[in-house]
């Protein structure tokens, strides 16, 4: 019977599972709102009916009936006036409005207190003078911050630890804060002398960090993990979470895929560990693991028209909503995410409401962005004179000399203006809290027409019930991201690439035809502005990420939690090429593609924590997780469209010819069981063991499940007497961890014999072409029935340390990370249905070894002055060994005459993606390239160096002086090579022969216009750089007089103020995807949307 019920449930739930989840979420949201509003109003019912009494009496009555107290100054408020009242109301504000209507009295509600003020007498309250001495262990403490709680009024202790402060009334609370010490709050309560003894406790030791399926105090952590809070994030015009943490964390290398608004990034946590693409870490937002695939459909215009790099799948997240980002780096931390943990895990936690009165925040910024520098090309005059000098049969009156002078880069770049508005409200009580926000971002790109427009809303609520044993958290965020994009980017021939065309366009050509005023177009010549104007690429992505997680404490210490999450997006992309565009003259082209993603997760966890005796703390976790992934897409592509208006909702495309329609659908599931034990012995010895058993539908019958264990041990040396007695360390901890994680990010259906109808399986079987063609069905993949996980085993040794009472602390980690059973598309054992077969390469491995250092210091604390600095350093060695294949080629070159060029190889004994090509020596007297020759007298291919940096580093600093704050952030990358593909296809003299522009350096290089175009180290450049990524100057307005506004901060931020580099392209922070057959490439710059320099003016208001 039970089985039957189970079956029925399954039937119902598998059909309607995500609808159900949505229903649950809505139900909980409404339930919780109801609860919240009830709580907030203090469950108060005021019934006051008094005749001819003093105001004082009325106030006393209200105090009696409610939890409110009134604060006022008798000298300003006439409380003895006679009033008559008759209330029967719930809302305190309504009561007060009526009570004080037409009087001099102003009120303000702060939590349970109601402050009364005289709006006509602008006098201050009679202040109370408070003095005192702040000490620590009997030593006076200079530089301690003292301020009145809830205000910015404050002071600092002098050299002898003494302070003086004026407080408005005796209800004020003084806060004593000093770096490295536990803050204290002391109510004034009529005292005029308050002496304080601050207890040492470094703030950072108190920090709570988020780990998979739980939180832990940082001092109890056994794995390698970095936490960034709001203050640590990159400021400025950031539209994705990746950009917020770029450069901030040791061991995490984040490279922009482009400078486009909302662009994606390449994230490597502890090196490149896989040959395939899809090496991004797992993103978990509030416990919901996200899909790393792009939510946006691929662009469908062909004919050389470029498609930009995928924008970030996480650009739907409103950066203002993020409270913290935790990055799990080693396997002992990520093993709880099992088969998705091999590339690290990034956990994003969004803001929750606090307790107390609602806090309303409004923040906004306006920004101005420009391209820092354009690429220098020949001017119109030198273009003509150089061509006349070097090319036979070309004179000044050559047909390609149009007699104008155009700076084409100027024509496409612009000054971009962006603005952002964020409003949030949060608050709550002891038992329920809420945070809601609304965000609007309008970000212009620095190239005309490109922009990103985002609207995001979020509601996070939390409610307790059943004597606080039941807790429910519900979170929902909905967003619409609208992107207007340009034909710039990776999948291109030079013809369709706006940026390449703008760099190399003939500078003597006019933008507009002077006779007609139309854009100037002649056959076979591209006018970059026409390419820009006559092509549209618009994507709208709607996304909902919602979760609900009720939990209940069954018995003390034992908690059951259910976590359900839904991640759903719908994205529509429209591409349009107008008939006015005459290169090539194919008439209007239109394409519409849609991609729908529905993923959900259901997780059950049981956690138990207990303390046995004084010395044994045990935390246990057991859980089950089910994840469902569904993606479907549909598209239409048409040439010779009769209308140019495809971007308008004209689905009934009329065309002379050529239409193409396609669709696909993929479904996958994962099921996992996991557990973790944390054992804390005497606060000194910490043990963690985790295990996850993951099953995935992507893998074969025999290999559906994989086990991913980890073990870690930490020893808090600073708790040992022999260390404590040294009196040097305030924290010293050794960490050792080992773990195994996996990677399952492969396509679908690799283990099955699946037949596809493809264009390359069509044939005529009934005679010539007057007979119907047969649409054949064929094995689209070579099946790999035994395919299983890729495995990464990593070991971590770390030391956490802190000296000088919190003034210097940090950590050093060494790691050894070995990836085996790599899933690689290797050449198939022919004859096989396809060229390659995805298999686990059991022999070979990729090894990443590295060291990470993080240092934080408080350099100075003086009266009114604080100076902090944080630095990070990472060095990683990467090598490939024992692959059974001699060379895997990748890194596709791009450009005319560059067909079939690959520039990188993966080969044994070398770092991944080592550059491989010709070694350029010089130009001979005829201006032809001379290359290193091999034994046979032919030019030979050699290894040319590594795209991986020797080390990367970051340095940020924070200065606070009185109400001013100042911060800056430098980041650097050292010793990597970048292949400048743009220079290889444009910076060559041959361009002049075909009436295209080139670089002045090329003219001086001695190269002949007849020199052939080939990949060599001539176009490999040092990609090292030092960037002042960010400078911010802020000012907190002293706001004693405006009781409405609690806090007002004004700031100005400059991003990307300067870059010191030898790299000749737009920017060395770049990674264009040039992967070949799914094999990753890195360190290639091919016409990428350049990064901008941005100045931003912002304001944060708190009410």
């Amino acid at each position: 019977m039970n089985k039957f019920i189970n079956y029925l449930l399954c039937k119902v739930l598998t059909f309607n599972r995500y609808f159900l989840i949505m229903k649950f979420i809505l139900l909980f949201l409404s339930l919780s709102f109801f609860q919240l509003s009830a709580n907030y109003s203090q469950k108060m019912m005021l019934r006051v009916s008094m005749e001819d009494v003093t105001l004082k009496d009325v106030l006393a009555e209200i105090e009696k009936q409610s939890e409110f107290t009134f604060l006022f100054d008798n000298t300003k408020i006439n409380v003895l006036r006679k009033v008559t009242v008759d209330f029967n109301k719930e809302d305190i504000e309504e009561v007060l409005n009526e009570l004080f209507y037409n009087t001099e009295i102003n009120y303000k509600i702060v939590k349970n207190q109601i402050l009364l003020d005289n709006k006509f007498q602008n006098q201050e309250f009679q202040p109370i003078k408070v003095t005192g001495l702040v000490k620590s262990e009997d030593e006076p403490l200079p530089g301690v911050n003292i301020y009145i709680k809830g205000t910015t009024i404050g002071t600092i202790t002098d050299i002898s630890g003494k302070y003086k402060i004026e407080v408005p009334n005796e209800n004020a609370i003084l806060v004593f804060k000093y770096i490295g010490y536990k803050p204290q709050e002391i109510p004034v309560a009529g005292n005029t002398e308050i002496n304080v003894n601050l207890v040492f406790e470094a703030e950072y030791l108190d920090e709570i960090v988020v780990i998979g399926y739980g939180i832990v105090k940082k001092i109890d952590l056994t794995g390698a993990l970095a936490t960034l809070k709001e203050d640590d994030f990159n400021h400025g015009l950031v539209s994705t979470p990746e950009q917020m943490i770029q450069g901030k964390v040791a061991g995490v290398k984040i490279t922009s895929n482009s400078g486009e608004p909302g662009a994606g990034s390449t994230i490597q946590i502890r090196g490149m560990s896989s040959i395939r693409t899809n090496q991004q870490p797992l993103f978990v937002v509030d416990g919901i693991p996200l899909d790393i695939q792009s939510t946006v459909p691929d662009a469908m215009i062909s004919g050389g028209w470029a498609h930009g790099a995928s924008t970030s799948p996480f650009n739907f997240i409103n950066p203002n909503d993020i409270e913290s980002i935790d990055i799990l780096k080693d396997a002992s931390a990520t093993a709880i995410y099992g088969s998705r943990g091999a590339n690290g895990v990034i956990i994003i936690t969004t803001k929750k409401g606090g307790t107390g009165a609602p806090e309303i925040k409004y923040s906004t910024y306006y920004s101005i962005s420009r391209i820092p520098r354009t690429i220098e090309v020949l001017s119109a005059d030198s273009f003509v004179s150089t061509r006349v000098r070097l090319l036979r049969n070309v004179d000044e009156d050559d047909a390609s000399h149009y007699g104008f002078s155009t700076d084409w880069q100027d024509e496409i770049f612009r000054t971009a203006y962006s603005h952002n508005h964020n409003i949030s409200i949060s608050g709550g009580t002891e038992r329920g809290s809420y945070h809601a926000s609304f965000n609007y971002l309008d970000q212009q790109g620095i190239i005309r027409k490109s922009d990103l427009d985002r609207i995001t809303g979020r509601i996070n609520i939390s409610q307790k019930a059943l004597d606080d044993r039941f807790t429910i958290d519900a979170k929902i965020t909905a967003s619409q991201v609208k992107e207007n994009r340009l034909p710039i980017g990776e999948t291109t021939t030079a013809d369709g690439d706006l940026l390449v065309q703008a760099i190399q366009a003939n500078p003597t050509m006019p933008v507009y035809d002077t006779a007609t005023g139309e854009l100037f177009q002649v056959p076979r010549v591209i006018n970059p502005v026409a390419l820009l104007e006559y092509n549209d690429d618009e994507t709208k992505t709607n996304k909902i990420l919602a979760s609900i997680s009720p939990s209940i404490e069954i018995i003390k210490g034992l908690t059951y939690k259910l976590n359900m999450g839904l991640d759903r997006s719908i994205s529509v992309r429209r591409n349009d090429q107008y008939s006015a565009y005459t290169y090539p003259a194919t008439g209007a082209i239109g394409a519409i593609a849609e991609k729908n993603i529905t993923n959900y997760v259901i997780e059950n966890t049981l956690s138990y924590s207990t303390k046995i005796g004084n010395n044994h703390n045990i935390n246990m976790l057991a859980g089950h997780s089910y994840q469902y992934f569904f993606t479907e897409g549909v598209g239409i592509y048409a040439r010779y469209v009769k209308s140019d208006d495809l971007l308008r909702p004209t689905y009934n495309i009329e065309t002379n010819d050529d239409e193409d329609v396609w669709a696909y659908a993929l479904k996958n599931e994962m099921q996992s069981f996991f557990g973790r034990i944390n054992y804390n012995l005497m606060e000194k010895y910490l043990f963690t063991a985790t295990i996850r058993r993951d099953g995935s539908s992507k893998f074969s019958e025999n290999n559906k499940y994989g086990d991913f264990p980890s073990f870690a041990f930490a020893w808090r040396l600073s708790q040992e007497d022999f260390i404590r007695n040294l009196n040097v360390f305030d924290n010293l901890k050794l960490r050792v961890g080992w773990g195994k994680t996996g990677n399952q990010e492969i396509g679908s259906k690799h283990s099955l014999f699946a037949l596809s109808a493809t264009s390359d399986s069509r044939a005529y079987l009934s005679g010539g072409i007057d007979n119907p063609i047969t649409y054949g069905i064929v094995l689209a993949k070579t099946p790999s029935p035994d395919i299983a996980w890729e495995t990464t085993v990593s070991t971590n040794f770390g030391i956490d340390f802190g000296f000088f009472r919190g003034k210097l602390y940090g950590s050093v980690d060494y790691f050894h990370k070995k990836t085996t059973d790599m899933l690689v598309d290797v050449p198939a054992k022919q004859p096989a249905p396809t060229e390659t077969q995805l298999i686990n390469v059991v022999q070979g491995y990729v090894l990443n070894k590295g060291i990470e250092i993080e240092l934080n210091s408080v350099i100075l604390t003086r009266e009114d002055f604080l100076w902090e600095a944080n630095g990070s350093f990472t060095k990683i060695n990467n090598v490939v060994e024992d692959l059974p294949v001699s060379l895997i080629q990748t890194g596709r070159g791009s450009g005319q005459g560059m067909s079939s060029v690959t520039v990188q190889v993966i080969t044994n004994g070398k770092p991944m993606n080592t550059f491989y090509g010709y070694n350029f020596l010089e130009f001979d007297s005829a201006g032809m390239g001379v290359y290193q020759e091999g034994g046979s007298g032919n030019d030979t291919l050699v290894y040319l160096g590594s795209p991986h940096p020797d080390f990367i580093w970051g340095l940020s600093s924070n200065l606070i002086y009185k109400n001013f704050d100042f911060s800056f952030f430098f980041e650097g990358v050292q010793g990597n090579l970048i292949y400048n593909n743009t220079a290889n296809s444009v910076g060559i003299m041959g361009n002049l022969r075909s009436s295209k522009n080139t670089f002045p350096e090329s003219v001086e290089s001695g190269e002949s216009p007849s020199n052939s175009l080939r990949f060599s180290d001539r176009f490999l450049e040092d990609g090292s750089y030092l960037r002042l990524a960010n400078v911010t100057l802020g000012y907190n307005l002293p706001l004693k007089k405006f009781t409405l506004i609690d806090n007002l901060r004004l700031y100005v931020t400059a991003s990307n103020l300067f870059v010191i580099t030898d790299y000749s392209g737009y920017d060395p922070d770049i990674n264009t995807d040039a992967s070949v057959d799914g094999v990753n490439s890195i360190g290639i710059d091919n016409s990428s949307y350049p990064k901008s320099r941005t100045f931003l003016f912002g304001m944060n208001l708190t009410f």
Partner: protein
Amino acid sequence: MKKLIKILIIGITVFYGCTDLQEEILDETTGEENLVYENLYELVAPTYNSFAQLYFIRQVWGIQQVTTDEQMIPTRGTDWFDSGLWQMHYLHTWLPQHEHIVMCWNALAEGMARANYSLLLLAEFEENDEVKYFRAELNFLKCLYMYYYMDIFGKVPFREYTEQDFSINPKVFNRKEAFDYITNKIKEIKPNLGDKYIVPYGRPNKDAATMFLAKMYLNKEVYTGEAAYDSCLIYVNEILNSGRYSIADDYFQIFAPDNDENYTDNDEAILVTVLNDEEDMDNRASWHEGFQLTFHYNQRVGQGYSGGYNGMCSQEEYLEKIIAHTDTSTDVRWRDDRIYDLTGIYCGFNYGQQYSPEGELIYERGGVIPLFFTFEAPLYTSTESNGVRIMKYWLKLPTTEPATVSNDFVVWRYSDCVLMQAECNLRLGNASEALSAVNTLREKRNAPSLSSIDLDGLLTERAIELYTECHRRQDMIRFGTFLDPKEDKPYVSSETRLLCPIPQNAIDALADKSLLSQNPGY
């Protein structure tokens, strides 16, 4: 509250009951579902598509043509270096990772694997004529892919159609083993193939099998060291005497865009691949990219043509041989003006000043230098004008598809048979019969009769009759001239260049490296 607990219980129940992690196929299909007789054509079609795509510039065709003295793609300034791939072909300096060699290896393998999978599915059907023909044809095509493996690489990876576990190494045949397998197999299946007109145009029939055997024995000396021209002659004569074919009256009609309509007893075509520019058969199917690869950027014809890519051309010494061998003013094979008025381009060889369809002078891209195709075409330093351009499979007009063609590619044809008969006779000592065969052909082509013929002359006759038809490398190897010096290649190539190297990837793929060893010299 009770409601919440209920939901929790549902939450727990949902997955425990449901998940077996079976992957569902939503947008594709499995073989079993489709194994119905109505789908017979769909199940066998992929193998025929591989056949149609085989004669592609970056695969078999390029290796058979651009390595010879007939075709080249010189580097024209910044254009056409393409990693040196075309230069390597011409100079015989290719390496085991040469992209076209790798692509060729894989394309042949794909064809064999598709034939195998189709054969596996066919085994499920009851025998009737249609199934019987398809089974024989699939075997024929599998043998054809093996034949090119044997010809180009000297080694043939082989699986029986029942062997569908691709983690297991294939067998590898050497040339001798492959020769025996193919000839035996073709003889075995020949009775099961249909007669001409019984199986539709475009599919291998009995005559194609006969021609296949003739080709095998013609080249047997190269493949096995033992000559078998007498055996070749038997099969050649079988076709010549069949009455089902003849020398075409209109030479360029053989290669016309609608050449499928020629399929009569007066036709030349013995084996063809059917192509159609209006169907997407994958871009590779445009085997020769005839117009586009060859002609200049400023030579534009028809709607949608944005001009050519100015790549491939012929070369001086080769052309001079032809000019010495025939009278180019009368020989219809040299050039023909049937589409000149519409395109400014001749069928056949194009040289000298180029004109637009309107008769205006065409210039190089700078707009100043007239586009004048020269006989001379230096390999490293050609200009836009160097080199004579060939258009044999001529343009369909008007056309909208620059990248594909609807001319069916003629793999084997009757005139080749005539020249093979001449060659066998000459090699067997019957010079007069050889001369008479050659002159019969030349008479049809409006070329002056020869008074005598030797092997050199016969090779040149094959050059003028069969240019760009994917025979040149095989012919030059059989006639012993493949390794000879040529323009910009002053040296005799090493004998190892008679075979292409096995792609390194193919060797790496097999766990047992001794199974597929590299050809000597690489």
